[in-house]
């Protein structure tokens, strides 16, 4: 009897689905389903209620065989093939530890470095700042058009004029660098806390709700109002026990002054408004009292910082245009002071990204090169391995493995390596980002706590994995049966050698390009470190002391500093002690702007007055700094408040203002702190660099402290080498004279100079890291290629040795291959580097972007490294027994 149509259809469906079921269970599975269907069909026939709906039900049940088959397939694939592939893969990786470790290292370096730099880019340029609508927040700085120096603090009168006239900002606020000492009753004397005094619009500009309490209100600025303060999140958690109830309570600052705490800032707010002084971020915010007369007239001393929120609808470009007009107006109104002064707007984000903002494209480029080299490296490693496994695969194919099975095996191994390498890479990226946060120059505020960006990690892992898959799968896909048979017979394959060499040459070229960049930065750094600043920084300690609050008349201050310097000089081991108002490389910038002066008897034209830095000094300042006296005499005890005013000029001033005349005996007129001076020049001293080593020395005019009574001085003490003079001992001398005096900062002069190199050191480290990693990968690439081809040429070497070749001849053959590769790579790299290095020009110092010495040194080093990579393969080549090699495989 013929089965009914619905049954036939149902059985056919089941047989189609059976293809999915793993072969080992397929027969049994089909039998079970068919039996059920047949039984059902027969039951229906017997009951003779074979209705249309019963037939549909039969088909529906047969369709249920599909999920059943799929479930079995999934189980099978998970339990069997994948596990077996993984176990086999792990075993294969363990048998070739050299390959495995190399691939893991390459994966880790490539993925780690790329992820880190992409995450950093994301944090600096993309990730929203923690301030609301932060892209409208702008910082405003002064620019000196004459020297081209930008990012200068703004002079008070200029800031006040800007605030009153500017239209393109919705609100503008002023912050002024300050410091307070927080006194805990009965506690130790405390170091001053960095603070800022701000105008009442400050927190409005930020647009930030306080974590607790409130920001400043207009009432807090009324004369006679209670003193108030806002705490940063950090000082609140470090010193106030993270206690929300501090709001409304009183804290004692500066010994005895009570301040009511109004609010606590949310965490993670860093503005770096204290750019130029390189000081830490303010921890305490205080209201700034109303502008005083001195501020309303001060256009020469910049020490204010401006932050503002652009008015709705105004673009950065429009705001810049308006500021240009306002600056031009100010220059016209105050030609003596503002002729060369312009204003510059820096968006807060760019400001917080600091020097890295301009350099990110460079580092991204370096990361891209590194990633490309990593991919090339992974590809060569897999190609070499594929070639060496041709026999294994040919054998397995001969034993019945399908090509799909072999491809899946390769896939599993690649994925295993990628997973392990990717994990290592992410760990490396985390470490690198932490290192960046630790070593960053202070201006790159956004580089703290950079999270690993998931998309960056995916991109880096994906690209590397793709390279591994392509290189890993190619050999197994190419392995057709005839080729496999040939491979079995011959035991070697020459395919892919040229691809392999090309990749290695490109790796060497890329390593050369990055090494040139790092080399140029290194040379600049070394040149810079060896630049003569005009003084000797070893064995010099510096204490910056603010005496205004405690010594309230010029006479008292003169006496105080003279006595302090005498006490320091009397300490055993001290060679010379002095003090100076504007300390070279000092942290607080005192009298750091140039002031107008006139040389008596010289005709003044229509041009603006000459400008010079005016610097009061105490005692043996020049000897303590080892600044040479070039002409005339130094200040001595005869230069008192009663004696005629005298002055010294620096060599720079001599060059600029007395190019062909003798300054000694000349009379100069200037003003300092509202007092007029008419001083006779008595000597010329050497010039010193002031802010950084890469800026030229400035013109300075020194006057004896006894004739000025200035209050903010840096005490400079030179001690004999090997003496036990400590900063602590020096501080005790200050406190012996006045126990409550605040010491703003202290340290050795070496430290001060070194701090100005942080940025360069950081750039060097970053680019150097990329260069080193790329060089490592390229070396590994040369090594892998030479080892691989040496293995393949063992027969050739054996024949040569059998015919009388010496070991040195064989070594030469191996070396020639590596050196040829490296030299080709260097040649290509050099031509590329010559095009790219001009981009580095802004970072270079004392070296040209095509510096031949660097190019030659890096080239020679690369070829030498490539030759060194041949050591192991060459040893292997000469240590084989020719008779064994020749007998094998014949």
């Amino acid at each position: 009897m013929m089965p009914r149509v619905p049954l036939r259809a149902a059985l056919a469906l089941v047989r189609v689905f059976a293809v999915l079921v793993p072969a080992s269970r397929r027969a049994e599975w089909t039998a079970e389903w068919c039996a059920e269907l047949e039984h059902r069909s027969r039951q229906l026939a017997r009951r003779s209620d074979s209705t249309w709906s019963a037939d549909v039900d039969l088909i529906r049940r047969a369709l249920g065989a599909l999920p059943d088959a799929a479930w079995l397939r999934r189980q099978f694939t998970l339990d069997a093939d994948a596990v077996r592939d993984t176990v086999h893969g792990l075993r294969m990786l363990a048998t070739t530890p050299g390959f495995t470790v190399s691939v893991l290292v390459v994966f880790a370096i490539g993925i780690g470095a790329t992820t880190a730099i992409l995450s950093l880019t994301d944090a600096l340029l993309v990730r929203p700042l923690s301030l609301p609508d932060a892209d409208r927040l702008m910082t405003i700085w002064q620019v000196n058009r004459e020297t081209g120096q930008g990012r200068l603090d703004v002079a008070p009168a200029n800031a006040i004029d800007l605030m009153q006239r500017v239209r393109s900002f919705q609100t503008l606020a002023i912050a002024e660098n300050w410091s307070v000492k927080h006194t805990v009753p009965g506690g130790e004397p405390q170091q001053p806390l960095p603070a800022a005094r701000v105008t009442e619009t400050f927190f409005e500009v930020l647009g930030l709700p306080m974590l607790y309490g409130r920001g400043f209100a207009p009432d807090d600025y009324r004369p006679g109002a209670n003193r108030t303060a806002v705490l940063s999140h950090r000082v609140w958690s470090d010193r106030f026990g993270a206690d929300p109830s501090v709001v409304g309570r009183v804290a004692i600052f500066d010994e005895k002054v009570p301040y009511t705490i109004l609010g606590v800032m949310p965490p993670g707010i860093e503005l770096r408004l204290v750019e130029r002084s390189r000081r830490p971020e303010p921890l305490v915010w205080l209201p700034r009292p109303a502008f005083d007369g001195a501020e309303l007239n001060n256009r020469t001393q910049g020490y204010w910082n401006l932050i503002g929120r652009l008015a709705p609808g105004v673009t950065l470009h429009q705001a810049e245009a308006e500021l240009a007009v306002l600056s031009a107006n100010l220059a016209r109104e105050h030609p003596k002071t503002n002729a060369a002064v312009a204003a510059e707007i820096v968006p807060l984000r760019a400001h917080l990204a600091g020097s890295l903002h301009a350099l990110l494209p460079l580092f991204l480029g370096a990361a891209a090169i590194l990633l490309a080299v990593a991919c090339a490296n992974v590809a060569t490693l897999f190609l070499a391995r594929g070639a060496s496994r041709v026999r294994e695969f040919a054998m397995r194919q001969a034993l019945g493995a399908s090509r799909g099975r072999l491809v899946r095996q390769m896939l599993t191994e690649s994925l295993l390596l990628a997973t392990l390498g990717g994990t290592l890479g992410l760990l490396l990226a985390r470490g690198a980002l932490d290192a960046v946060a630790r070593l960053r120059p202070p201006d790159i505020a956004l580089a703290d706590r950079v999270p690993i960006d998931a998309r960056s990690a995916l991109i880096a892992c994906g690209v590397t994995l793709l390279a591994a898959l392509v290189a890993g799968l190619l050999p197994s896909l190419q392995l057709s049966r005839p080729a496999a048979a040939r491979a079995l017979r011959e035991g070697r394959s020459s395919a892919g050698r040229r691809t392999h060499s090309t990749l290695v040459v490109l790796e060497v070229a890329a390593a050369f390009v990055l090494a040139i960049g790092a080399g140029l930065l290194t040379r600049s750094f070394v040149t810079l470190v060896h630049t003569d600043p005009g003084f000797q920084s070893d064995h010099v300690s510096v204490l910056q002391v603010f005496a205004y609050a405690r010594q309230n008349t010029p006479e008292k201050r003169t006496l105080f500093f003279a006595e302090l310097v005498d006490r320091m000089r009397a300490l055993p081991g001290v060679v010379a002690a002095g003090a100076v108002s504007s300390m070279p490389f000092g942290e607080a910038k005192i009298l750091s702007d140039r002031m107008p002066f006139t040389i008596v008897g010289r005709p003044t034209g229509t041009e603006p007055e000459p400008l010079i830095n005016i610097v009061p000094v105490v005692g043996d300042y020049f000897r303590a700094m080892s600044i040479p006296l070039l002409k005339g005499r130094l200040f001595d005890g005869t230069d008192s408040p009663q004696s005629p005013a005298v002055a010294l000029v620096s060599q720079g001033a001599l060059r600029q203002f007395w190019p062909d005349a003798d300054p000694i005996g000349a009379t100069v007129r200037f003003q300092l702190l509202g007092r007029r001076y008419e001083a006779r020049v008595v000597g010329v001293v050497g010039e010193v660099r002031h802010e950084t080593l890469d800026r030229p020395a400035r013109a300075e005019l020194f006057l004896p402290h006894a004739q000025s009574g200035f209050g903010s001085m840096s005490v400079v003490v030179r001690s004999a080498p090997g003496s036990a003079v400590t900063i602590r001992m020096l501080k005790e001398q200050v406190w012996a004279l006045d126990p409550a005096l605040s010491i703003y900062s202290s340290g050795t002069l070496d430290q001060l100079v070194s701090k100005t190199l942080t940025g360069r050191r950081f750039n060097l480290l970053l680019l150097g890291g990329f260069a080193a990693a790329t060089l490592l990968l390229a070396t590994a690439g040369v090594f892998a290629l030479v080892s691989f081809s040496t293995t393949q040429r063992l027969r050739e070497f054996a024949v040569r040795m059998a015919l009388g070749a010496q070991r040195s001849d064989i070594v030469r053959l191996v070396l020639i291959q590596a050196v040829a590769l490296a030299m080709t790579g260097v040649a290509i790299g050099a031509s590329v580097a010559l095009q790219l290095t001009p981009m580095l020009r802004a970072l270079l110092f004392g070296v040209t972007s095509n510096d031949p010495a660097t190019f030659v040194a890096v080239g020679v080093a690369l070829v030498a490294v490539a030759a060194a990579a041949c050591y192991l393969p060459a040893r292997r080549a000469i240590s084989v027994d020719p008779s064994l090699v020749l007998r094998r495989d014949v």
């Binding site: 039998a31 047949e38 009951r47 369709l63 249920g64």
Partner: protein, 105 residues
């Protein structure tokens, strides 16, 4: 072992003497695509065993031998636990009385 409600129903049907796949589908009114993977899982986890019915029966009915399933002691324990979690409809037991193999025709 995840105790989904369908799993509990299948266990319950097995406990009530429904031994073949299609009979369990009838008893539980679940689709075949749900019941069979559950049976595979029960078998994999050793909560049920499977075997082929006697060839004699199959020959008598002029069809291939069917596969039947039986709960193991572990399966019964799991069912007891599952019953505490889900309320099992009485309908299966009722249908079991009506449809018990041998009594159905």
């Amino acid at each position: 072992m995840n105790f989904t409600y369908p799993t509990t129903l299948v266990l319950h049907a097995l406990a009530n003497g429904f031994r073949h796949g299609f009979d369990i589908i009838d008893a539980t009114e679940l689709p075949s695509g749900t019941v069979y993977p559950i049976l595979r899982r029960l078998e994999r986890d050793e909560l049920a065993t499977a075997d082929w019915e006697d060839h004699a029966i199959a020959r008598e009915e002029q069809r291939p031998p069917r596969r039947y399933y039986e709960l193991t002691p572990a399966g019964r324990a799991v069912l007891a636990e599952a019953r505490a979690r889900f309320r099992v409809p009485r309908s299966i037991a009722a249908r079991a009385r009506r449809l018990r193999p041998g009594e159905s025709s």
